[in-house]
């Protein structure tokens, strides 16, 4: 899964708005993409769109997967925290994470 995501991911440094990426979990897929806010040069935001029915544990697991992906994709950012909060916070010095819960996925 990480490898597949890594193949699809564009260079974080090169993009202002990445394409979305999909990770398949039960009971529903997790979507995420990156942003590089203009107001914070060098800063990045990771947005997760998680299925509401996924439950807290699954969301936390999704965070772990994505933070592992960050560590692999950007090894010099190995300080990416394993304790990413459930819905938001910093995962590295200049990276924020934000989770939006999708009310439903048909």
């Amino acid at each position: 899964m990480l490898e597949a995501t890594g193949q699809a991911a564009p260079g974080l440094e090169a993009c202002q708005l990445s394409t979305p990426h999909r990770l398949d979990f039960s009971p529903g897929p997790l979507w995420f993409f990156w942003l590089r806010p203009k107001a914070r040069p060098g800063g990045f935001k990771l947005l997760l769109f998680a299925h509401l029915g996924a439950g807290q544990k699954t969301v936390r697991f999704c965070h772990q997967i994505v933070t592992q992906f960050l560590a692999i994709r950007f090894p010099n950012r190995h300080q990416v925290a394993a304790d990413a909060p459930q819905t938001g916070g910093k995962i590295a010095g200049n990276m924020d994470i934000e989770t939006l819960f999708l009310p439903s996925l048909k």
Binding site: A8, P10, C15, Q16, L17, S18, T19, P20, H21, R22, P29, W31, F33, L35, L47, F49, L52, T87, G88, E98, T99, L100, F101, L102, P103, S104, L105, K106
Partner: protein
């Protein structure tokens, strides 16, 4: 192997090749100019009338400029080899809704999008063709929170098609559970719900992906070879009919 047994095997192998595509992210697009707003949500917001809102590209006649690329897993050869790698393309989207938006957690809102289409055309045709991808869809969902969002549509694996792909350059397995997603940023002004219950007007930057089971169409030279092969098989069968017919009669 007897010829009358071998021919169905060839035919099966030929067909199976076309059906063996796996579901994957087969195409994506990104903005050429990161600061440009590609998409516009336009809500009539007329009091005492039903909702009539659209989510379109900033231009629905000429389209907007995007970098479009097929997955590197799709390898084009011969006359279509120019399709490997990013392509300059014109992107047109038109979609509409008459549904209310709903509030979600964490300041998020969901705006149903009833139906629409997306079209990506090459600025410079390849082999005389230009339709990279056309997507028709129904029942998409647009999720927004402040200045960011995600629009997505997810098909079902049971053949209830909410997404239909077509292309001059790809064949699609229609039984595949298709889906697509567009990331939105710089939503301006920040997302909010109007008096009619749908989202208020905004514009946004966008990039997107398309998932499905796609395979490159056979290049013209390959098509010629296939036609020649089938012609050869037909002629061979005709020549050997004297031997095949008695065997078929015996079998029945």
């Amino acid at each position: 192997m007897k010829l009358h047994l071998a021919l169905p095997v060839w035919a099966f192998a030929f067909l199976a090749t076309g059906l063996s595509a796996q579901t994957m992210t087969f195409a994506q697009f990104t903005q050429v100019q990161p600061s440009k707003k590609l998409l516009v949500f336009d809500n009539d917001e007329k009091a005492h009338r039903s909702i009539a809102a659209t989510l379109d590209t900033a231009s629905v006649s000429a389209g907007v400029d995007v970098d479009f690329s097929f997955s590197s897993n799709l390898v084009f050869t011969g006359a279509l080899a120019a399709l490997n790698g990013p392509q300059k393309a014109d992107f047109i989207m038109q979609s509409k809704t008459d549904d209310e938006a709903s509030h979600g957690s964490h300041h998020s809102r969901r705006q149903p999008i009833d139906s629409g289409f997306m079209e990506f055309k090459l600025e410079t045709p390849v082999d005389g063709k230009d339709l990279l991808l056309k997507v028709t869809f129904s029942e998409a969902s647009l999720f927004v929170s402040k200045s960011t969002g995600l629009e997505l549509a997810v098909g079902t694996p049971l053949g209830e098609s909410k997404i239909t792909y077509s292309s001059d350059f790809l064949d699609f397995n229609t039984l595949s559970p298709d889906s697509w997603a567009i990331s939105l940023s710089d939503i301006d002004p920040g997302s909010s719900i109007g008096a009619d219950g749908a989202l208020k007007d905004f514009s946004a930057s966008a990039s997107g992906i398309f998932l499905g089971a796609a395979t490159p169409i056979p290049e013209p030279a390959s098509s010629g070879r296939i036609v020649a092969l089938i012609s050869f098989a037909v002629v061979l069968c005709w020549k050997l009919r004297a031997r095949l017919l008695p065997a078929w009669k015996l079998a029945n």
